[in-house]
């Protein structure tokens, strides 16, 4: 289906006007080197507009609204990331004032990698989130199987509890959990964070597993069973191909989300020895002047596992997150 000429001309006009505005503001109000970024954005937008006019009356299946939207999307998404990088690589003692990095220095990255406190915090995060994920997954998969396959009274209430816990403001129970830990004498140990982390990991794992299990071709299982397949054959021909990839991604996602928890980690640890990484960064923001570079660098490094995951399974993750509402 090819968009109408009128629609394309509107898109081109808007694109051109936007580019013109950006170009003018950039030239008049913005200092270099950021001025170049504004000019580039302006040129790209105006070129989109020009191309839109040129191709308006052709049968090519190109949407100029789509191109314009994608350009805005790219700018909105990438500019803050570029800024994070600029902050992270700012030379010592300088507050960066331009979006484009000036004088890239890697000292904050060196500091983040070499810092004992951050390393301990990362270990705490990995340990707590990893254990909480390992405990949550078997429970979650079993529950998801129950939700998807087996009839039970009150199933909807149980599912409501799961969804409610995902959406619940965890902060509201952080206080009571910390009091409970103090009462048990467990406050201040890394392992004490694990049960609390289940508040985050277990419902999320259940919810995502339900999504995975709903897409599984269950009639195939029934057919294999009817044909008298052994347990090993069921695993090999049904469970491994149909479940394993999805559940692996679920496990990794739950782990990553567990690692980025701030509230519980911050509430349940007395000091840097047991604070997970996000809470440590928050603490550092208040304590150390000129901490932004260190925090930005640590944040970018912390992104890496999630980015790797995203690069390895982009389709599956988008599918999982996008379809989860059905």
């Amino acid at each position: 289906m090819t968009p109408s000429v009128k629609s394309r001309l509107w898109a081109s006009g808007l694109s051109f006007a936007l580019g013109f505005g950006v170009g003018n503001y950039g030239i008049l109000m913005i200092a270099r080197p950021d001025q170049w970024l504004w000019i580039i954005a302006s040129v790209v937008l105006m070129a989109t507009g020009a191309a839109g006019v040129l191709y308006a009356d052709t049968p090519r299946p190109v949407s100029f609204w789509g191109i314009l939207g994608f350009e805005v999307f790219a700018v909105v998404t990438l500019v803050p990331l570029l800024w994070t990088f600029t902050v992270a690589t700012a030379p010592e003692g300088a507050d960066p004032q331009t979006l484009w990095p000036q004088g890239v220095s890697w000292r904050a990255f060196d500091g983040a990698i070499g810092s004992d406190i951050l390393r301990d915090a990362a270990v705490t995060s990995f340990l707590v989130s990893g254990l909480a994920t390992l405990i949550a997954m078997p429970l979650a998969v079993a529950a998801a199987y129950g939700f998807v396959r087996v009839p039970a009274r009150g199933k909807r209430i149980a599912y409501g509890l799961v969804i409610g816990t995902i959406l619940m403001p965890v902060l509201a129970i952080a206080g009571p959990i910390s009091e409970q830990l103090v009462a048990f004498g467990a406050y201040g140990s890394r392992l004490a964070l694990v049960p609390a982390a289940l508040v985050v990991t277990l419902p999320l794992a259940t919810w995502l597993s339900v999504t995975v299990l709903r897409d599984v071709p269950w009639p195939l299982l029934d057919a294999i069973r009817a044909d008298g397949a052994t347990r090993r054959q069921v695993v090999r021909h049904f469970a491994a191909p149909a479940l394993l990839p999805g559940l692996t991604v679920v496990t990794l996602l739950v782990f990553v989300v567990g690692c980025s928890d701030f509230v519980l980690g911050s509430a349940l640890s007395p000091d840097a020895r047991t604070l997970p990484l996000p809470a440590t960064l928050m603490l550092a923001s208040g304590q150390v002047d000129d901490s932004s570079a260190a925090i930005a660098a640590a944040g970018l490094l912390w992104m890496l596992p999630a980015v790797v995951l995203l690069l390895l399974f982009p389709r599956r993750i988008n599918h999982l997150l996008g379809r989860s509402y059905r």
Binding site: A152, V263, I295, Y325
Partner: protein
């Protein structure tokens, strides 16, 4: 009842880690309990609730939180819809877009809050738009925009999945019948996407209610505007007034339940199980 054999372990653990603390919060909220003065602990009934609900600070915080939630959800929905619509048409770029769209969500909220605050106080946004000494409220707006940025990608992913359910044949016949763009959106697109929009709104609204890192980061003594989570945090973990903090925690939960109760029927969120 066979199903409960599968469900029971997860549900029992879930109740243990959520219902038990909630019960404890309700119990604690009935007394005044300064953590560092055990001698002054005493049972006060509903006094803490009366105190909170009759204080101006609390209602300002509720109003501010509601305003932030509304603005954040509307922005994320509009941006997410625009991006989803653009990505829907740019099938060629999906391999890249699929990664880029979720990148902001991979950045920790603390880090995003720090760099967004820096952007408007000393950084490029201050230089570009001549922002001069924003003050706590301006910084709160900035960190909230940072959260909008973090959440827009995931909103777009959910909405895109909804958009992909719009039937192309129905759309083609609507175009053939000469329906205007608005009519096509209203009659064809919206009905197919409604569940996705509903989920996106509920999810983003409750996520906005939870936002703590940013507001905590820019909180300064003497600020007039605080959000409800910051008040809860401050009372429980800085003032160590456990009873009062527990009462506010319970009220925060009630807030979340009311928000969900308002949104779920309004948007006709579909049941999936």
């Amino acid at each position: 009842m066979r199903g409960w054999r599968w469900l029971a372990p997860a549900i029992v653990v879930l109740l243990a880690v959520t219902a038990w603390p909630v019960g404890r919060a309700i119990w604690t909220s009935l007394s005044t309990d300064p953590a560092t003065s055990p001698g002054d602990r005493s049972f006060v009934g509903v006094d803490n609730y009366v105190d909170v609900l009759t204080t101006r600070t609390w209602w300002i915080a509720v109003a501010a939180t509601l305003a932030i939630i509304t603005v954040m959800v509307v922005l994320q929905l509009l941006l997410g819809l625009a991006f989803a619509a653009a990505l829907r048409r740019m099938t060629v770029l999906w391999p890249v877009a699929r990664v880029v769209v979720l990148l902001p969500f991979a950045l920790l909220a603390v880090v995003s809050a720090v760099v967004w605050r820096d952007a408007v106080t000393t950084g490029f946004a201050a230089a570009w738009f001549r922002l001069d000494d924003l003050g706590p409220v301006g910084q709160l707006v900035a960190v909230s925009l940072g959260e909008v940025w973090r959440g827009t990608g995931i909103t777009a992913v959910i909405l895109l999945a909804g958009l992909l359910r719009v039937s192309t044949s129905l759309m083609a016949s609507a175009v053939a019948d000469g329906a205007t763009a608005w009519q096509r959106f209203r009659r064809v697109v919206l009905p197919a996407m409604a569940p996705a929009i509903a989920v996106a709104v509920v999810y983003r609204a409750l996520d906005a209610l939870r936002m703590l890192e940013g507001p905590l980061l820019v909180d300064q003594p003497g600020t007039d505007v605080r959000t409800v989570p910051v008040l809860v945090w401050d009372t429980t973990f800085s003032r160590f007034e456990l009873g009062l903090g527990a009462a506010m925690s319970v009220l925060l939960l009630v807030f979340a339940v009311l928000l969900a109760a308002a949104l779920v029927p309004l948007l006709r969120v579909r049941r999936t199980v």
